[in-house]
């Protein structure tokens, strides 16, 4: 091979190598930047997942427009409903029913759970009923509660309370029977027994499980109230979703779903914040 052409080839390879190196450096820099962004911005993951969701939504809506309303018109409908004030009102009404029903259910369920763990007599008397009613969903009571309490929020809250109660009883009991033996023995050894032991040791020691129960019950309350509102209400998110079907406003159904999800997210965050702030020392760990 003549030396002239060999030199040309070498020059070319050199050039190529250099540009390759530059390219790989650029790539590395970009990767580094992305990594830093991912590390430093806790919302990046959420933003990315929203973008992906909107993309998938768009694709699905394009492929079957009759069955899935596309994203933008849905958001526009959401804005319309919000501007009219109806969406906010319905959301607040639903949240009110959830919170009142849930609070009543927790206030009754947790102590009953504790009593089951504490007293063998109480356990033997109450346990069969708990295990019987546990398998009966709140919805089946709708007619009965309507007749008993009337077509009002009392009925709706009572149904949420019923669902919450069952969950809280179980978590209250488990919270107490799983307390390590050494803890109660240590208290007995310090002369603390009977109701004092219950109040000063057993209740605080059971709180982590109690909070888990309250959180599970909260999720369950959201599900219950929608079913209840679909069957017996003229306001609320469940009502919105159910009536929209009559006019084939599938976009409103989607609005209901989004609103409910957001409301759930907010409630759970508030619950987590409160537990973290005031109950951390009890070993309540939520995340």
């Amino acid at each position: 091979m003549p030396s002239e052409s060999r030199k040309r080839v070498e020059r070319m390879t050199e050039k190529e190598e250099r540009s390759n190196m530059v390219r790989s450096q650029k790539l590395k820099a970009t990767a580094g930047l992305l990594r830093r962004m991912w590390r430093n911005n806790r919302y990046l993951g959420t933003i990315m997942s929203i973008i992906i969701l909107l993309g998938v939504w768009k694709l699905v809506a394009m492929s079957m427009p009759l069955f899935v309303p596309s994203a933008l018109p849905t958001l526009r409908s959401m804005y319309e409903l919000a501007a009219e004030g109806q969406l906010v009102e319905f959301t607040l009404v639903t949240l009110y029913r959830i919170l009142v029903g849930w609070a009543i259910g927790v206030a009754l369920g947790i102590p009953v759970g504790w009593l089951i763990a504490q007293s063998d007599l109480f356990k033997r008397i109450v346990d069969p009923y708990i295990n019987f009613f546990r398998f009966i969903p709140p919805i089946i009571w709708v007619t009965v509660f309507l007749i008993w309490f009337g077509y009002n929020d009392l009925t709706r809250c009572a149904l949420v309370a019923y669902a919450t109660f069952m969950i809280c009883v179980i978590h209250g009991t488990v919270g107490m029977i799983t307390i390590p033996q050494e803890k109660t023995r240590a208290a007995l050894n310090l002369g603390v027994k009977g109701w004092e032991l219950f109040r000063r040791v057993k209740i605080p020691a059971s709180l982590p499980e109690v909070f888990t129960g309250m959180r599970v019950a909260m999720t369950n309350s959201f599900m219950t109230i929608i079913a209840v509102e679909m069957l017996t209400a003229s306001s609320g998110i469940g009502y919105l979703a159910w009536t929209s079907r009559l006019y084939f406003r599938l976009d409103y159904v989607f609005v209901s779903i989004i609103t409910l999800g957001l409301a759930g997210l907010l409630t759970d965050s508030a619950f987590r914040m409160i537990s973290k702030k005031y109950f951390r020392r009890f070993g309540v760990a939520i995340d």
């Binding site: 023995r185 208290a187 310090l190 002369g191 020392r281 070993g283």
Partner: protein, 255 residues
């Protein structure tokens, strides 16, 4: 009559009696102010003996008495220090609140007492910390102070330093010797470590491997306190006891 007396004690967790009793024909005497150590292979029922003396469990047969009184239920007079580091503490209370938990005195008196015991176990500066903020050794100090503050007649210690690192363990052993020398409380201490038994005990009772565990031999450790775990005398005793205990360890079925 001895201060602590276990007479012909048997213990069977199986109430139907179909399996062998864990402890059988167990006899033990501990004098007032004595430091007794129960030494035996794992699972031989050492902890059960302490639980019997504490009153957490009742014997299937035989009698357990402390200070001429039969043990029927737990009492602050028989204070237990548990092996578990985390479970016995009330994790929602601070060091100070944990130590004052069982005290029934006026608030002012309680402050003074708690302060005294915090100083005794060298926890000054950690009064307002929660157990989760303390190291393993510090948690055991809280347990020790909490039970010591009740001024019990007997201290029952169930491998209290077994979950600590070697350095902390040695420090705690030295401190326990000092405390015992100062207060001369009756202590029944359970361990599976021969070194620990020799360093701490005036009297070491070697138990047989369960089931049907009982005291096999009793050894007096005639050394002055405080004892140094690496001194020639201690090592001589350890060697002497080792054969006895190894024989029992070999009997434990391998799982």
């Amino acid at each position: 009559m001895a201060f602590i007396e276990l007479t012909d004690v048997s213990l069977s967790y199986d109430t139907k009696g179909s399996s062998e009793p864990e402890i059988e024909q167990f006899n033990l005497t501990v004098e007032q102010g004595e430091f007794a150590v129960l030494l035996g292979p794992s699972g031989c029922g050492k902890s059960s003996i302490l639980n019997l003396i504490a009153g957490f469990i009742r014997p299937t047969s035989g009698t357990v008495s402390v200070d001429d009184e039969q043990v029927r239920e737990p009492s602050p007079q028989r204070g237990m220090v548990f092996q578990s580091v985390d479970a016995p503490l009330f994790h929602w209370l601070t060091t100070k609140q944990n130590i004052g938990f069982g005290l029934r005195t006026s608030q002012a008196e309680k402050e003074v007492l708690v302060e005294k015991y915090i100083r005794m176990v060298h926890l000054t500066g950690s009064e307002h910390k929660y157990p989760s903020e303390l190291s393993g050794g510090m948690k055991q100090r809280v347990q020790l102070a909490r039970i010591w503050a009740m001024d019990p007649a007997v201290l029952l210690m169930d491998e209290p330093f077994a979950n600590l690192d070697a350095i902390t363990k040695e420090i705690m052993q030295q401190e326990l010797q000092d405390l015992w020398l100062q207060t001369k409380k009756t202590i029944v201490y359970v361990t599976h470590s021969i070194e620990e038994a020799v360093v701490l005990g005036q009297k070491v009772l070697i138990m047989t491997a369960g089931p049907r565990a009982h005291v096999k031999t009793e050894a007096r450790i005639a050394l002055d306190y405080p004892r140094d775990p690496v001194s020639v005398d201690v090592i001589r005793y350890v060697r002497a006891l080792r054969e006895d205990i190894n024989e029992e360890v070999r009997k434990v079925p391998r799982r």
